[in-house]
Structures are given as C-alpha cells and as structure tokens.
Amino acid sequence: MERTETRGRVSRRTVVKGMAAGAIAMPVLLRGSGAWAQDVTGTVRLSGGTSSPDEEKLLREVLADFQQKFPKITVKYEPVPANYLIKIQTDIAAGNAADVFYVQSEYAQDFMSRGVLLDIDDYMSKDNVKASDYYPGLISAFVWQGKTYGIPKDWSPLGQTYDTTAFSDAGVKAPTTWDELRSVLTTLKQKSGKPALVLDAQFERFIMFLLQAGGNVTNKDASKLTLDQPEVLTALDYYYGLYKDKLSTTSADAGAGWPGDAFAKNLAEDVMEGNWMFPFLKTNAPDKKFACAELPAGPAGKGTPAFTVSYSIFKGSKVADAAWVLVRFLTGPEGMAKWTSLGLAMPSRPDLMDNWVKEYPIRKPFADSGSYATPAQFGPGGQKFISDADSILQSLFAGQVDTKEAQAQLVTVGNQDITLVPATAPTGGVPSGATPAATPGT
C-alpha cells in the first residue's frame, strides 16, 4: 500500500538554508480573521505524514510563527514518517486522535462520510474564509454533501521532468501530444538503446492518460461509474502500448525504487511525477540538468490528476476553536506562503502561485496545469479501488491480461469498491466526488 505511493517521497540531507526563500513570504495581514481568535486558548495536537526532516523542520518554523501570533494557543506537532493512514485510524479508534490532522483526497470521502471530521463551514463564514480562496478543484475534494471538512494545505499535479542533456543530444523537445511522446521516446531509444521513460503500473499514473483520453472513474457528480466507456480502453492501449513497445519501462525493471529515483540515477530521461520530485533531485542528483513540461495532451486534450491533502479537524476535538485558528493560519496567506517557500509543496491558494512560480520558474508547467487538473478522488472506497486497480495494471504489464480484460476487471472492482453518490441534484451547488476542477491558472 505505502510503497506504491511514491508521491510525497522527498529525501533527507538537503541542507536547508531556507531564509533566502523565506524572505518572499511577506507577512500578509490575516484578512477577515476576527479578533476573537486572539482570545482562544488551548493545546492543539497536530499530526501529519512527513516525508523528510526538511519538511518537518519547515512546518515547525511555520508553527513557531503561529505561536508568536497566537501565544495563548499551544501546538503539539506529531509528525508521522510512515504508515500514516494506519496511524490515524488506530488513533481515532483509540479515541486518541490529534485535533488537527492531514487527510489525503483519496480517502477523504471515507472519513467525511463516516462523520469523523468536523464541519468547518461555520468557522469559515465567521472568519470570512471563502472556498474561492483555494483552487475549487482542490477544496471540493474535502466537501461532502454540501459541507466542508478540510482545507487543502498544498497540492501537486503530475508533469514531465526530462533530462535536458539527453533531449538536446537526441535533438528532441518535450512532447506535447501522445503522438509526439511516442516519436520522442522512439528517437531517444535509438540514441541510448534503452527506454527513456520510466512509468510504473500504478492507477495513480494511469489516471493521467485516462483523463487525457476524456475518461474518468465516475461521471462528474460521482453518481455513475464510467470505467466501461471506450476512453478507458483508449487510455489503456496507449499506456500499455508504451511499455509493450519498450518505449517505457517500470522502475523495478530499471532497477530503481520509483521513477524519480530512476531519473536521479540516470536510468530514465523522462518521468511523469509531481512536485515531490524536486527536493528528491536536489538531494540525490544535485548536478542533474533537467527541465519540466506539462503532460502531453491526449485525444481529449490536456489532463492531469491533482493530488492534495487537507488540514481537517477531528470531530471529537475538545479544542475545536483553537484547532480552527491553527488551520486558518496554516492555510492562510501567511502560513501557506511560508510552508510553500522552500518548494517542498505547491500552494493551494491561487493568490500565492505567482510568487511561487517566480521563485521556482522551472516548475511553471506544474503550476500551469492547475487550470485543468482533476482531483485524485474516486468516491468512498476509492482507496481500496486504487489498490485493486494497481493490481490489475500490474497483471496487464506482466502480460497476464490484455487491455480489454483489464478494462473488464476495472469495471468489476470499481462496482465492488466504490460507493456511488445517488444521482440527485448536488446539494449546495458543490458536487462531491470526482469533480473535474477548473482551477484558474496563474
């Protein structure tokens, strides 16, 4: 379960001299945050998965800022380096959950539908926090039946990262369409003799091709499964075709832990990963010359999943007010600016994106894909669906099933795992489930 989850894997040992980057995080006044917050007291426990000491250290700095601003609230930060989902579940089961914790979009609906999280709409209106402060596609991942249960703390799409030396040696440019991708990979292979793209048999990678083909797991309001549609087969054929024709390979085949690792070890010339690539590269391949591009467009145009994680408040929290003040700060302009300042994460607030891109111009294509990214969320049971779908794609790559059979199996597990939302008019005008999010570009 965890080991297929390569996103969020960034590495240690980066020497953080974050102050230069921190300088851009200009203090912005807390808009609309009523004076009431200053009088809130309590000790708030904050728990979240962390993938590197850098990330942990940075969050501690952000929390120190918070502490200064709200001295009456004490924050106890409990980072979880691995097995986060198990951790949070066992803590909830034991009645020991933190007041504020991370919730990933993939299993957010499982949590929200079971009433584990606190509905924060009242707090939001009280402090004039608007859903529109965030990319709508991201915040909608934490809306269930018209109520909001979390605020996205950051996000990442998938994008191409390619080896500029290899590309210029072969005389190719970053591909922008499926056809170009095949031809670029063919040229690169003629040059090096091995597949240039490292791409794993994982549903959360396949989903990009599915979106580019115009398909998805469910329809817009998550009331109907759409895995039986022809787009799924188109995407499967293209995705598996790259591997079958040895234009792409998997990280295991290449002898790496994940595509980013393969890229760092010069076993790949092109990978399709997220923002978590860059801290990893900085540590493991500091001299590597690379550039980024949006994912190639498919028959239905551009498409990428958006991975996001929220700060949510535990329903059983005894310090909900203080917890909200913390969430408000962390997802507010000031807290998020600092949190995203080292480039470990991308801001989920459009108002911070311009500055972020100025700081990390090479990653502009990642920011640009915000305008069409679709949240990685497939209904309650989506987490199980992802692991079942991974298994089917692994069979496909091992040649045990063909693409038609793979699609049939996807339909079966989709029906079995995913709880669909009744096809009524979406309440509150905010559809839950797989919402193709229009996120304004920057």
Binding site: M1, E2, R3, T4, L85, I86, Q89, T90, I92, A93, D110, F111, R114, G115, V116, A201, T250, A252, D253, A254, G255, G381, Q383, K384, S387, D390, S391, I392, Q394, S395, F397, A398, G399, Q400
Partner: protein, 327 residues
C-alpha cells in the same frame, strides 16, 4: 519419569497448600494472558459479527454477513487463501527435506560440525525485517542474484523477482505452448516464490539442527544390527532413520505450517501484498482489510477463519502423533 513424578505428587503432603499456592504462582502470567491474549481473542470473535470501520465508534451487529462475504466467492479471500496454500506447499516440505538431508550429511565424523551448525542456524536468529530488506536488495534488478545469473549465463525474470506477478507453473507450461490454465494451477508468482525461497533459506538451518539432535538420539546399535543384516545405507535411512524421526518430523511439519500461515513481516516489508496481489497472504489480508479498507469486522472474520484453520492443522497433527507414539 513422568509417571514417577505423578506418583510422587499424589503422596505430596503439601497438596492442600497447593490449591492456593498453585494459583498464586500462576497469577502473574494469568493476568497478562487474560488481558492481552484471551481477552483480545474473545473480542475478535465478537467483532467478527459486527461491522466496524475503525474510525467510527459504532459497531453495528451484522450477524454472519462478514462470513458470508468470505465464502461467497470473495476474490481477495480466495487469492489470499491460494497464496497461503502455495506458500505452505512450497516452503514446508522443502525446508523439512533439505533440513533432514543436511542433518544426515552432517551426522558423521566430520571436522567443523559446530561451525556448520552455527552457520546454518544463524539466519534464523536474524530479524525478519532485516532479512527482508537484505533480500529486497539481493532480488533487485541490479542486485546480487541477477548478477550471478548473468555471470553464469542464465536468464533473469522480467519484471524482476519480487515485482513479477506471473505464476511459475504457468510460465513453465507456457514454454511448452500450454496457456490459459486455471488460477489455482498457475502456481505461486515469481514474487511469491522469491519470498518462499527466502523463507526456506532462513528456516532450513533450524530444521537441520533439530533433525541433527533427533539423529543423535538414535542409538548406534540399531544401525549396527541393520548393517549386520546386510541393509544398505539407503534402506537403513528409510527403514530406521525416518521411522525413528517421525515425531520430530511431525513436530517440524506442524511448526512449519503454522509458521507459513502467519507470514506477515516479510510481505509487509518487501511487497505490500503485490504485485497483482500475488503475495497477499491471509495474515496480510487481515491487516489490509482492517487498516487499509475500513473493514475491521470483516478483517476479524478472516482472522477467526485463520485461527480455525491453524487449530485444525494442529489437532490433525496431535492425532497423528498420538496414534503412532513409537516410544
């Protein structure tokens, strides 16, 4: 001796005191047993008739629903059962036979017997997590095993070992042009086979040490008599060694089967049940359903079934051994 002890005890003048002292002596152990073992087992039974997502306090009664889900052709359960059975079929006889053969080889006047015993036993004292991580590296595409195979000109599997979901029997038959065999007959996947090989590597030495002790308890004059009767070494092995070792063999087999039904650490560290679920064992499925899929009631039902499977194996073994207690 057991009989003698019993006679002594019946005459024991402090029998009355023991009625209380006995429980006092047991008390520390019993408290821990009751709280951390017996209680949890009863709780799991109870849970298996309920639905529980772990993250909600509600645990509604669902009767036999969890069990019905298991036995009404649930694919994941069937896969896990298949993997577990293949694991046991592959590992238990192999480690037993190899252990016995090594013991027979070492059971002669040779130098360095202690060294061999030590060497063979060593893997079984190392942490399963450590061994799993070492073997992950060993089995990697650019790891030691592939390097050795390349050197001696043998092919290596693609995808590499623990990432390969293809059934080994299926692959073997495939090379004879036989395709599309049933899932049960496809055999363990290359990935599962890799973990099985690691398991045999770990336990083989323990088996050998156990057998070696068993062999040394066989009085030498039995062999001398047989040799005088003109029995060959092979005959001696089949007619004397194996029958006399029977209790040890059964013990080793039972322990082996129970051990393989509990395999968890290796799966957790090496494959997380993949690729294509081909290394998802029953014990791992319990974990996955309970913690990954918000179905702790269902996971408890799997645990209960697993418990009864082990119990039945244990009882069968007791019966067999009881029937042929030769000594």
């Amino acid at each position: 001796m057991a009989l003698a002890a019993r006679t002594h005890r019946s005459r024991n003048p402090i029998a009355a005191e023991d009625r209380i002292a006995g429980w006092m002596f047991l008390l520390p152990a019993l408290v821990i047993f009751a709280v951390f073992i017996i209680g949890p087992i009863l709780y799991v039974f109870w849970l298996s008739f309920h639905q529980w997502s772990v993250i909600t306090p509600e645990k509604p009664w669902v009767g036999l629903q969890n069990y019905r889900k298991l036995f009404s052709g649930n694919r994941d359960f069937e896969i896990a059962l298949r993997n577990t059975v293949w694991f046991a079929i592959g590992v238990v006889p192999t480690q037993t036979i190899l252990g016995l053969l090594l013991a027979v080889l070492a059971n002669r006047k040779i130098k360095g017997k202690t060294f061999f015993r030590t060497a063979f036993y060593f893997p079984s004292i190392s942490s399963s997590v450590v061994i799993s991580i070492i073997f992950l590296w060993l089995y990697a595409q650019n790891g030691l095993l592939n390097a050795v195979l390349h050197r001696i000109g043998l092919p290596t599997p693609t995808p590499p070992w623990i990432s390969n979901p293809r059934g080994v029997i299926e692959m073997a038959l495939g090379s004879f042009g036989i395709h599309h065999i049933s899932l049960w007959l496809a055999g363990p996947s290359v990935a599962l086979l890799s973990i099985m090989m690691m398991n045999v590597w770990t336990t083989m030495g323990t088996m050998m040490v156990v057998f070696l002790a068993g062999l040394q308890d066989i009085p030498p004059d039995v062999y001398e008599a047989a040799a005088l009767d003109g029995a060959t070494r092979t005959r001696q092995f089949i007619d004397i060694t194996v029958p006399l070792l029977r209790p040890v063999i059964f013990f080793v087999l039972t322990l082996g089967i129970i051990g393989t039904f509990q395999v968890f650490d290796q799966i957790f560290v090496m494959t997380s049940g993949g690729p294509a679920k081909t290394t998802t064992t029953l014990a791992y499925l319990v974990y996955q359903e309970g913690f990954g899929n918000f179905s702790m009631g269902y996971a408890s039902a799997i645990a209960v079934v697993l418990f009864f499977m082990i119990l039945i194996i244990f009882l069968i073994q007791r019966r067999i051994v009881a029937n042929q207690e030769p000594m």
